[in-house]
């Protein structure tokens, strides 16, 4: 138990940090919801800018449209989907977290976990199996020095 103590503590810290970062932020105001959606959509006529950051005419129109849709009671998913239907997946700044796109999020975590597991096993094996074994000549040398006192 003493040996596993630090690992358990580390696990708890990581779990709490993830929970704080990933936990949903309760009820958002309409303006905050609209802004959040604007940051998720790519400006269609710019390179790599979000709708929230762009001053292009299309981005301004999208911002107005998002506010109108939020006020009309549409959900975030409905609003996002209405843009995907018209512009395709490329309108999203980050890949979706469903379907095949989910792999983009999961695979790095899986690879990281497997790598960490591999390192743990390798370190443990190195500790359990010493690389240097005494040869017969070594044994004889030790015996001789003991006998010589």
């Amino acid at each position: 138990m003493r040996r596993w103590g630090p690992w358990i503590a580390l696990g708890v810290v990581v779990a709490v940090a993830l929970a704080v970062v990933l936990w949903p932020n309760g009820e958002q105001s309409p303006a905050a919801r609209a802004h959040e959606l604007e940051t998720q959509l790519k400006c269609p006529e710019c390179q790599g800018l979000s709708v929230a950051d762009s001053q292009a005419p299309t981005s301004r129109a999208i911002r107005t449209d998002i506010k109108r849709r939020v006020a009309a009671g549409q959900s975030d998913e409905e609003i996002r989907q209405s843009y995907i239907d018209r512009y395709g997946d490329s309108i999203l700044l980050a890949p979706e977290d469903s379907g095949v796109s989910l792999l983009v999020w999961i695979l790095p975590v899986v690879v990281l976990a497997l790598g960490a597991t591999g390192i743990v096993f390798a370190l443990r094996r190195n500790r359990e199996e010493p690389h240097l074994h005494p040869t017969d000549a070594d044994e004889r040398l030790v015996e001789r020095s003991r006998a010589d006192g």
Partner: protein, 180 residues
């Protein structure tokens, strides 16, 4: 677990295989290409109801039953000016076709500048104004010029972002007529 390293290696190999399959399935799905193509082709054309330069309105319902070319443009955009001769030539060749309509929708421009441009260049087709970019957004435009072919039945038959040649305009009209 007798050989944990083997299990880990097997798991890594499995992940690599899954990754390979996913990549193979997505070959051809180029995000940059996806960003340039319209996702409206084959779908019903977005409804629009916009003011025209003459003080009236232009609606999708007005062009129902006709093969329609919709061109998003404005007076200050250089590619729009480069495409203008092709539009003029194409319109001159088809303006008397009973089943043909051409609508230019202006985005991000002032009425005065548009009026001056139309007068100077003797633009003969219908010009609609979209000051709030409502139609531009419904058509999912990415700038201007951008051109759509709408079939008599109201389906988007073809779309292109960028300047059109006369040949492309002819093929758009043929696609609109063929889509029914």
């Amino acid at each position: 677990m007798k050989h944990p390293a083997r299990v880990v290696a097997l798991a890594v190999a499995l992940v690599v295989v899954v990754l390979g399959v996913v990549l193979a399935l997505n070959v051809g799905n180029d995000p940059e290409q996806d960003a340039k193509q319209s996702h409206l082709v084959g779908k019903a054309a977005p409804d629009f109801d916009l003011p025209n330069l003459a003080g009236g309105r232009v609606k999708l319902a007005d062009v129902a039953g006709k093969a329609t070319i919709v061109n998003f443009w404005n007076s200050w955009c250089i590619p729009c000016q480069q495409e203008a001769p092709a539009l003029q030539q194409f319109f001159a060749a088809h303006k008397d076709d009973s089943d043909f309509v051409m609508v230019g929708i202006v985005r991000d421009d002032t009425t005065g500048d548009v009026r001056a441009y139309v007068k100077k260049n003797q633009v003969g087709w219908t010009i609609a104004l979209d000051p709030e970019n409502v139609a531009a957004l419904d058509f999912a435009t990415r700038g201007q010029p951008e051109t759509y072919a709408i079939s008599p039945g109201g389906l988007v038959a073809a779309a292109k972002y960028g300047p059109m040649s006369s040949t492309e305009l002819e093929s758009f009209l043929a696609a609109a007529r063929a889509s029914g």
